[in-house]
C-alpha cells in the first residue's frame, strides 16, 4: 500500500512541477493544488498505513490495548488542507486582480519584467484623492 502511494505521490509531484514551471500563472495555480494534495498523501503515508481500529480507549482502561491507527497525520493533513484552501483562494483572487491590471497572466510578458512593470512614481502622502481609483475588472 505504501509503495503504491509513494508512486502516486511521485507522479503528482512530477505533474505539479511541470505545471508550475510553465510561465502561465493559471497553470501555476493548478500545479499548486496538485502538489498540495501530493504532500498530504505523503504525510498520510509517513504515518504508516495499516488496517487497524480507530485509536479509541475502551471503557475501564487507561491506555490503548491493541494496535490502532495513527491519528496524528490526519490532524496534520486537516490543518494543511485548511491552510492550502485559504492560500489557493487568495492566489486566485490575486491573479484575477493582476489580470484586470495587466491584461495578461503570462509571467514572461512585459508587465511582469522588472523594469517595465515598475511602479509609477506618485506622491500619495496624506492624499486620499486617488485612493479609490483602483483598476476595476
Amino acid at each position: 500500500m505504501e509503495t503504491l502511494l509513494a508512486g502516486l505521490v511521485g507522479l503528482l509531484f512530477a505533474a505539479a512541477i511541470y505545471l508550475m514551471l510553465s510561465g502561465v500563472l493559471v497553470r501555476f495555480v493548478f500545479g499548486f493544488v496538485l502538489i498540495g494534495n501530493a504532500i498530504n498523501l505523503l504525510i498520510f503515508a509517513a504515518g504508516r498505513m495499516a488496517h487497524t481500529r480507530p485509536p479509541l480507549i475502551p471503557d475501564g482502561q487507561a491506555t490503548l490495548t491493541a494496535p490502532a491507527a495513527n491519528a496524528l497525520p490526519q490532524a496534520l493533513i486537516l490543518t494543511a488542507i485548511v491552510i492550502g484552501f485559504a492560500m489557493i483562494t487568495f492566489l486566485l483572487v490575486l491573479l484575477y486582480r493582476t489580470y484586470s491590471q495587466t491584461g495578461t497572466l503570462d509571467a514572461d510578458d512585459d508587465a511582469f519584467l522588472e523594469e517595465t512593470g515598475r511602479v509609477a512614481e506618485t506622491c500619495t502622502v496624506d492624499s486620499d484623492a486617488d485612493a479609490d481609483a483602483e483598476v476595476g475588472p
Binding site: F28, I43, L72, E121
Partner: protein, 497 residues
Amino acid sequence: MILLPALPILLPLAVAILLVFFRGDPRRAQAVAMAGAVGHLAVAVALMVEVVRHEVLVLWVGDWPAPFGICLAADMLSAVMVLITAVIHTAVTVYARRDIDAPQVRAGFYPIMQVLAAGVCGAFLTGDLFNLYVWFEVMLMASFGLLVMGPKPGRLAGAVKYVALNLLATLFFITAIGLIYGMTGTLNMADLHAKAAAVENQALLTAAAMLLMTAFGIKAALFPVFFWLPAAYHTLSVPVSAFFAGMLTKVGVYALIRMFTLVFSGVDLALDVLLVIAALTMLFGVVGAASQMEMRRILGFHIISQVGYMVLGLALLTPLALAGAIVYLVHHIIVKANLYLVSGLVRQAGGSFSLKRVGGLYASHGLLAIGFFIPAFSLAGFPPLSGFWAKLLIIRASIESGQYLLAVVAALVGLLTIFSMVKIWSEAFWKAAPDEVDLSCVHPDLSAWMLGPVLALALVTVALGIFMGPVIDFSMAAAERLLDPQAYIRAVLGGLP
C-alpha cells in the same frame, strides 16, 4: 507567570480583533494600535527579563506534556528576537500614524499589522516543527494582505512573484515535515534532537534537511532564490516595507539557526552548502545594489547581502560565529527597518524615492540627515557603531576557522556597502536639489510622528555600539546554549513543572 511565553502572541492577536471594530475611524484605530504595540513591547521586555533569570521558559499548551502536545519555548535567542520584533512593531505603528492614509486603514492595515507581529513572535517562540509551519502561514497570509493593500497601482506584478515564491517555500517546508515525521515519529524540536541523530537512513534525513534549508533559504532571500525580495519590497507602503525588511527575512534566518543547531546537529553537508551560499549571497546582494538608483531598491539588495553575513555566522558553527550572527540579527533588524523609514521621509522632504530627483536635504533637513547618517554608516560597518562590531565578530570567526577567503569576501562586501551608502548620502543629502522638483510632491515639514521613530531607532543603534560589551556577552551565552542545547531539551521534555 506561566502564560508569559504566549503573551507576545496572544496580545497582538487580541488587539487585532479589537481593531477590526475601529476600521472606519482612523484616529481611534491608530490610538488602539499604538497602545497594543506598546503593550507588546512591555510583554516582550518582561519575557526577556524572565528568560535572563531562568534561561528557558516553557509553556505546554493545554497542559499536554511534550512531545505529545505543542509547547512554546523561549530561550535567549527567542527572547531577544521577540524583543526586537516588538521594538520594530512599535516604531512602525507610530510612524504609520502619518504615513498610512484613511483608505488603507479602512482596508484593515492595523489589524493585519498586529496579526503579522503575532505570527512573527509565534514563529520565534514555538517548540514544534508543525506549529512553526502554521506560524509561517499566519505570517505569510498577513504579509499578503499588507502587500496588496493600498492605493498605488502597478504593484501586483511584484506581489505575484512574492506570493508564488513564498508559497513554494511553504511547500518545501511541509514536505520536509512529512518526511521527518515518517522517519522519527515526532515533530517536537527538542525531541527531534536525539531522534534525528538516531535515524538509520541518514541520507533521507539529509534530504529532508536540505528541503528545510531551501524553504528557509527562500524566506531568508538567500542566493539564488532571492528574486522575490527586490521585486516586491519597493512597491509597499513605507511602514510596511520597514517591518518586512526588518523582520521577515530574519524569521528565515532564525529558523535556519534553530534547525541546524537543535534538530540537524549532525548534518554537515548542509553547512558546507550554506558556507558557499552565504558568500554568494553577500556578493550578489551588494553588486545588485550598486546598479540601482532608487533608494528602496538599493536597500532591498542590501538586505540580501546582509543576510549572507548572518548565514555565514551560522554555517561556521563556532560559538564566536554564532554569537556574531545573533549580534548581526539584532543590529541589522534595527538599522534596516530604520533606513526604510528614512526613505519614506526622503520621499516626503525631497519628493521622490529616486536619488536622481532629490537633493540638498542636508541643508534643509538636518535632523533627517542625522537620522540617515547613523543607521547607514552602521550598516556599512563604521566604528564604533553596531554594524562594525557585528562584522568584526563574523570576520574574526571566519579567520579563526581558517576560512580566509570568506573573511576577505565579508570585508570586501563591507567596503561595497560603504559605496552604496555614500551614494545615497551624496545624492540625496549633499548634492544641490535638482531644478525640476515636482513641488506638489514635496512636504518640507516632517511630522514628529515620523521623525520620532527614526531618531529613536538611530539612538538605539548608537547605544548598541557603545554598550557592545554586554551585548556580545549575552550573544556568546545564547550561542553556547544553542550549540549545547541540553538545558533547552531538559526544560522542554522534563514534564510538567
